[in-house]
């Protein structure tokens, strides 16, 4: 009896069932808060035709960017795709479809997807290329566009700590899109730095309840810093 124990011990188990042409939602902001081992497993599996939903697509050498080496991504939904030469090349050649989505709208699309809200109105993007083809509506004298929620066949998430039931705690700004991604996957897989026994986390401190989590794996993380900036004293 596994009960609520979500822990798996291999990356193969963690990403079992991921097939070509699926949609994957990934937490992370740049290389911060990336489920590094899960991304590497998708690369190892060689899954193709992925629609990838994440704020960024890593850098040329790291993070989600490694899925571009073998052209595994068919479509990218992101707010910012700079810092990645392969991305630019595949986008320009038409091999990679890109849907640029404002950062707050992207976060809300995930949140709504996980919360059973099919669409929402937002002023963000009204009158811009983002509004093309979308329903517009006026509320209280202001113009809004209709944005649809996103759900994924898989969500891949990085958390700091978890208990075996999948209750999650994030750390500092590595939280970013991770709690939102966690709610929006049909299968949500979480990679963490430390797994503790149920009861060891203060219930008041839990950011994401285990109900959203299907699989949990303990990983090790490189945590590459994109812009290491220090003051002198």
């Amino acid at each position: 009896m596994a009960g609520f124990n979500k822990v798996v011990h291999t990356y193969e188990e963690a990403m079992a069932g991921l097939e070509d042409n699926m949609t994957v939602i990934a937490g992370g902001f740049g290389l911060s808060g990336n489920p590094e081992g899960l991304i590497k497993e998708i690369k190892r599996k060689g899954t193709k035709g992925i629609t990838l939903v994440s704020n960024n697509c890593g850098t040329t050498e790291h993070g989600l960017g490694i899925l571009l080496f073998d052209k595994q991504i068919k479509k990218m939904v992101a707010s910012y795709v700079g810092e990645n030469a392969n991305f630019e090349a595949q986008m320009m050649s038409g091999e990679l479809e890109v849907e640029l989505t404002p950062q707050g709208t992207l976060a809300e699309k995930m949140r709504a997807g996980g919360a059973g809200i099919p669409a929402f109105f937002t002023a963000t993007g009204y009158g811009t290329p983002v509004a093309e083809g979308k329903e517009e509506r006026e509320f209280n004298g202001r113009n809004y566009i209709l944005e649809e929620a996103i759900t994924g066949d898989f969500a891949i998430v990085k958390a700091w700590k978890a208990d075996t039931y999948g209750n999650l705690v994030f750390r500092k700004t590595a939280r970013n899109f991770n709690p939102l991604a966690a709610t929006a996957g049909k299968i949500t897989v979480v990679e963490v730095e430390e797994i503790v026994e149920p009861g060891e986390l203060d219930p008041d401190e839990i950011h994401t309840p285990g109900i959203y989590v299907n699989r949990l794996i303990q990983g090790t993380f490189e945590k590459i810093i994109e812009q290491r900036t220090v003051r002198s004293e």
Binding site: G104, T173, E226
Partner: protein, 219 residues
């Protein structure tokens, strides 16, 4: 003389008020943090999920899990809070941020802003800029007044894809501080040593010039 990057930041800092929550964009806006007057408190919001951004870390303080929206390592100020991206943009979209400062390629007399894409050349994405301009009431755009070749960036109609429509009211350029209202630019201040004629020459959109245009002061 046109304003230096530091002077642009200094002039924006004069608009800060005690108790303001402020979002500073990447580039010149980030420098504003260096000129917060000593007698006021402001709290900086970083849209990746931090309210109460502190200074850059020392070598010993560097933490890969603590970065700003420009992906630079940072620290937290006293009283900081951390949250996810949906919460962060709820603050922004909900109009809870008192002042937003960001850069632009072009603005026009109708308060439109273009800042994220040059078709065929620069396609990196808007990040949080569309949410910021749609959500904030009080926005200052910092930009150069014209290109190196003297082509105005203050236009009657933006030519590049828009980041936001009708949302900009204040623009600080290296030459002038300008308000946008009633479909016109209004000249409020000029950079020290810059003539009104120079500003008129480099402003393509309709510019209203009052009889007296004060010079900016950097006391």
């Amino acid at each position: 003389m046109s304003l230096s990057r530091e002077q642009l930041a200094q002039r924006v800092a004069q608009e800060l008020q005690d108790g303001y929550y402020v979002n500073l964009g990447i580039g010149i806006p980030t420098l504003v943090a260096n000129y917060v007057p000593d007698d006021i408190e402001v709290m900086l919001q970083s849209e990746n999920g931090l309210l109460g951004m502190g200074q850059f870390p020392t070598e010993d303080e560097v933490d890969a899990d603590l970065i700003n929206a420009g992906k630079q390592t940072v620290t937290m100020a006293k009283g900081a809070s951390l949250f996810d991206s949906a919460e962060s943009f709820a603050m922004i979209r909900g109009g809870h941020v008192d002042l937003t400062v960001l850069g632009a390629f072009e603005v026009d007399v109708n308060g439109n802003i273009a800042s994220y894409m040059i078709p065929g050349k620069l396609i990196k994405g808007m990040g949080g800029a569309m949410d910021l301009v749609a959500g904030a009431d009080n926005i200052i755009v910092t930009m150069t007044h014209a290109s190196k070749h003297g082509v105005s960036k203050l236009l009657s109609n933006c030519t590049l894809p828009l980041t936001g429509k009708g949302c900009i009211k204040k623009v600080l350029t290296d030459l002038a501080f300008i308000e946008i209202k009633d479909g016109k630019f209004h000249l409020l201040e000029r950079a020290p040593g810059v003539s009104v004629e120079d500003i008129i020459k480099l402003t393509e959109g309709e510019l209203v010039v009052p009889e007296h245009v004060p010079e900016m002061s950097f006391a």
